[in-house]
Structures are given as structure tokens and as C-alpha cells.
């Protein structure tokens, strides 16, 4: 159960090893990795800079992680988010969830990403090949994605059935 905000890249294999080594109570591990997309031609992204709100970022990520743990029976969870200047293909974010059953791991990972996308204070600025660029606009569908978690019980019926 950890959140990290860092400039350095992360090593997914090493993080998974750290989470699951020596443990026999985990049945399902889901990872989500978000990466910088490049695009092509004049509007290709050459650089992506991530600004964040030190202090609040960590607090928000911990709050979201705690809420995921409250809703699903998680054996482990991890959120790593990078800031600073990144290039196409670079990792931005890693979410890992471990549970006894796959549905809890999948749902918790999606929940973490949906809330991270709309609540964690990060802002992306793009630089494009033609010199244009600027701050990335928030996507309305990210807000829409949140609505599916409204009113969800501590454990969803589907997960309960799988226990």
C-alpha cells in the first residue's frame, strides 16, 4: 500500500516482484501503465511536461488508494506517478492492484485510474514538432467515467459473488 510521486522512471517488473515475492495469498495482480503518446507529422508531440502540486498530490493519491482499499479486498496496491519532462513512449503512471480474485483487482485498478485522472493535481503541457503546444485540456469523458462508481457499496455484488 504505497503512493510515490517522482521524476525517475519506474520498473514494472521490479515493482511487481516487490509486491508479490514470498506471498501466497495473492491470486490476481492487475497493472495499468500510462505512457506518453507521440502522434505523427507536424503535430507530433516532442515533449510532455507534468506539473503537480507537491503535498496535495501525495495526499490525494493516498486518499484515493484508501478508498479503493475500503471498497475492494486488496492484498496490495501501488500508485506511482511521474512529474517533470517526458518524451513519447515514456512511462507516466503505474497502478498495481493485487487481490485474491481477478474482478476485485480489475475494478480497483480502474477505480484508481478514474479518480487519479480527475482528482490528483497533475497538469500536462505538450510541445509539438511545429512549435505549437500548450496545456492539455481535461477530457469530459474522464468526468463521465467517475459516475459509474457512484453509490457503489463497499464491495460490489459481482466481487461478493466471486469470494
Amino acid at each position: 500500500m504505497a503512493v510515490r510521486v517522482q521524476m525517475e522512471d519506474f520498473d514494472i517488473g521490479a515493482e511487481l516482484k516487490r509486491i508479490s515475492d514470498g506471498r501466497t495469498d495473492i491470486g490476481a495482480i492487475v497493472t495499468f501503465t500510462g505512457t506518453v503518446r507521440g502522434g505523427e507529422g507536424e503535430t507530433a508531440i516532442t515533449q510532455m511536461t507534468l506539473e503537480h502540486y507537491p503535498g496535495m498530490t501525495e495526499a490525494e493519491l493516498e486518499r484515493i488508494e484508501t478508498e479503493a482499499q475500503r471498497r475492494w479486498p486488496l492484498q496490495a496496491s501501488l500508485v506511482i506517478h511521474r512529474h517533470g519532462t517526458l518524451r513519447p513512449g515514456d512511462n507516466i503512471v503505474l497502478v498495481v492492484t493485487a487481490s485474491r480474485h481477478r474482478q476485485a483487482a480489475f475494478e480497483a485498478a480502474e477505480f484508481l485510474m478514474d479518480f487519479l485522472k480527475t482528482q490528483a493535481p497533475f497538469w500536462k503541457k505538450e510541445t509539438r514538432a511545429d512549435g505549437s503546444g500548450g496545456w492539455v485540456d481535461a477530457r469530459e469523458c474522464d468526468d463521465t467515467a467517475l459516475t459509474r462508481w457512484q453509490g457503489a457499496a463497499a464491495t460490489s455484488p459481482r466481487v461478493k459473488a466471486a469470494e
Binding site: 495526499a59 490525494e60 485522472k117 480527475t118 493535481p121 500536462k124 485540456d137
Partner: protein, 91 residues
């Protein structure tokens, strides 16, 4: 409104709010007539062209009090740090 003395609060700005403001943070004395985030935004807009530009569309600027998201009607009394920023785009 009571005639309370002005409260001192740290303001922090991020992303294009910071850029339009031309600074990342400042400490201001907020008059006691400012009760909510919406009041604070209205008062800030009167302070100069950079504030006017940053809060040109106040409905899209988000706020946090002491590092927790708040709505425009949130009360600012007792706040140590108030942040203004665009909708977040991480992940």
C-alpha cells in the same frame, strides 16, 4: 459582516493559472468581507490585469483549501493555503 481584521493567506497557482498570474505563489491580506472561494476570486479579479486574465472564466478554475479540493461556495475562514488551478490532466 463583522469588522474583523484582514486575514493573511498564502495563494498558490498551477499550470496556466500560474502562467497567467506570472507567479507561482504569493501571500495576500484578504478583507474580512471575503467569505467564500467565489468571493475570493471576485476580490482577486479586481487586483490587476494578471488576475483578471487568470480568472477570466472563473467557472473553469478549480480551487483547493489546505491541499484539499473545494467548491466555489467553500468558506475560506481559517485557510492557511489556497490553491487555484485548471482541471487536472494527469494519469
Amino acid at each position: 459582516m463583522t469588522e474583523a481584521p484582514p486575514a493573511t493567506v498564502k495563494l498558490v497557482y498551477f499550470a496556466w493559472v500560474r502562467e497567467k498570474m506570472g507567479r507561482a505563489e504569493e501571500t495576500v491580506s484578504v478583507p474580512a468581507t471575503v467569505a467564500t472561494i467565489a468571493d475570493l476570486v471576485q476580490w482577486l479579479r479586481s487586483r490587476g490585469p494578471e488576475y483578471e486574465s487568470a480568472f477570466e472564466r472563473p467557472e473553469i478554475v478549480r480551487a483547493a483549501i489546505d491541499q484539499a479540493h473545494v467548491k466555489p461556495h467553500a468558506t475560506v475562514a481559517g485557510a492557511r493555503e489556497i490553491a487555484f488551478f485548471p482541471p487536472v490532466t494527469g494519469g
